[in-house]
C-alpha cells in the first residue's frame, strides 16, 4: 500500500537506499547511515509522514554491521506507514539524531542509547531515561551477561544466581 513511498525514495536517493522489501504489508527501506537525515526530512516534508511512531535498536550480534536502528513512520494525511532501517557498525555506533525532524524522537533516542549504546549525533540531552545513573553497560546488548546484577544498595543475602 505504501509502495509509492518506497518508489519515490528510490527515485530520489538512488544508491542511498540499500534495500527495500515488503513483508506482510510492511514497506521497509534500508537506508545508508550518511543519508539518514536527508531521507527523513524528505519523508516528512514531501511525503507527509507527520509522526514518528517508534524508534528502536536491534542487536544482530554475530552479523556485521552489528546494530540496527529502526524507525516506524506514519502519515495521517495520506494513510501511509513505512519502516526505515539503518545499520550501525559496532566500532562506531553513531547515527544522526532525528530530533530536528520529529521532536518526539528525543526520549526514544535516549532509551535506545541507554539500552544499546548507540549514540545519536546532535541529541541535546543524551542521558539515561529509565535506568538509574549508576548503571554501567548496555543491558539489551546480546553480550551483556544476563545474570549480571547491579544493585544500588548492599543486599542482605548475596545474590548468587
Amino acid at each position: 500500500m505504501s509502495q509509492v513511498v518506497l518508489d519515490k525514495l528510490k527515485e530520489r536517493f538512488k544508491d542511498a537506499i540499500l534495500e527495500t522489501h515488503n513483508s506482510f504489508g510492511n514497506e521497509t527501506a534500508l537506508v545508508s547511515r550518511e543519508s539518514l537525515l536527508d531521507v527523513m526530512r524528505f519523508l516528512k516534508d514531501e511525503c507527509g509522514f507527520e509522526m514518528l511512531m517508534d524508534l528502536c535498536g536491534v542487536d544482530h550480534l554475530p552479523e556485521v554491521p552489528r546494530f540496527e536502528v529502526v524507525y516506524h513512520l506514519k502519515s495521517f494525511s495520506r494513510g501511509y506507514r513505512v519502516r526505515i532501517k539503518v545499520r550501525v557498525p559496532e566500532e562506531d555506533p553513531v547515527v544522526d539524531s532525528v530530533i530536528s525532524v520529529w521532536k518526539g524522537a528525543n526520549w526514544y533516542e535516549r532509551e535506545c542509547w541507554e539500552f544499546y549504546g548507540i549514540k545519536f549525533r546532535g541529541h541535546p540531552d543524551l542521558r539515561r531515561l529509565l535506568l538509574y545513573p549508576e548503571f554501567e553497560g548496555y543491558p539489551l546488548r546480546k553480550d551483556y551477561p544476563h545474570k549480571k546484577r547491579q544493585p544500588r544498595i548492599p543486599l542482605l543475602k548475596p545474590e548468587t544466581r
Binding site: 535506568l131 538509574y132 543491558p139 551483556y144 544476563h146 549480571k148 546484577r149 547491579q150 544493585p151 544500588r152 544498595i153 543486599l155 542482605l156 543475602k157 545474590e159 544466581r161
Partner: protein, 159 residues
C-alpha cells in the same frame, strides 16, 4: 445485657502483653507499597467481596510512619530498592512485612538485569504469598498468619 452483667464484680487476670497483642492484631494499619499488576488483586481483597475489614486490617495509611504492616505488592526493581528500604526504615516498631505475589517474593519470571530477585534481599519478610497474582483467599490466609504472629510477639523476646 453487657459483659458486666455476666461477670458481676469478678476479676479477669491476664498479661498486659496478651492484651496489647490482641488489640494490635485486630487493628492492623497497613501500608500498601504497590508497584505492579498484583495491585489489582490487592484492591479486590480490600473491597467488599473479600473485605479485609472483617479482620480489622482495612485501614490503609499512606505514610509508613503510621503503619505497622508493610504490604509489598508487585515487582520491585533495583532502581526502586532504596525507596523500599527507606519506607521500611521509616516504619515504627513493631512492624511486619508481607511479600505479596511471585515478583515481590522471588523476582518472578523477571530474571533479568533490572529486577530485584525478591524483596528479602533488602528487607526482612514475615510472610510470603506465592501466586501470579495470588488468590484473595491466600491473602486472607496470610493475614490470619500475620495475626498469629502478632499474638506471639513479645517485646522482651525481641530484645
Amino acid at each position: 445485657m453487657g459483659l458486666e452483667a455476666v461477670f458481676g464484680e469478678s476479676w479477669i487476670t491476664s498479661k498486659v502483653e496478651f492484651f496489647i497483642n490482641w488489640a494490635r492484631k485486630y487493628s492492623i494499619f497497613q501500608y500498601p507499597f504497590i508497584t505492579a499488576c498484583c495491585g489489582m488483586e490487592y484492591m479486590s481483597v480490600m473491597c467488599a467481596h473479600y473485605d479485609v475489614a472483617r479482620f480489622g486490617a482495612e485501614f490503609t495509611r499512606f505514610t509508613p510512619r503510621q503503619s505497622d504492616l508493610l504490604l509489598v505488592v508487585g515487582t520491585v526493581n533495583h532502581k526502586l530498592a532504596p525507596v523500599l528500604r527507606k519506607v521500611y526504615e521509616q516504619m515504627t516498631e513493631p512492624k511486619w512485612v508481607i511479600s505479596f505475589g511471585a515478583c515481590a517474593s522471588t523476582g518472578g519470571f523477571y530474571d533479568n538485569y533490572s529486577v530485584l530477585q525478591g524483596i528479602d534481599k533488602i528487607i526482612p519478610v514475615d510472610i510470603y504469598i506465592p501466586g501470579c497474582p495470588p488468590r484473595p483467599e491466600m491473602v486472607l490466609d496470610a493475614l490470619l498468619k500475620i495475626q498469629d504472629k502478632i499474638q506471639k510477639y513479645s517485646v522482651l523476646k525481641q530484645k
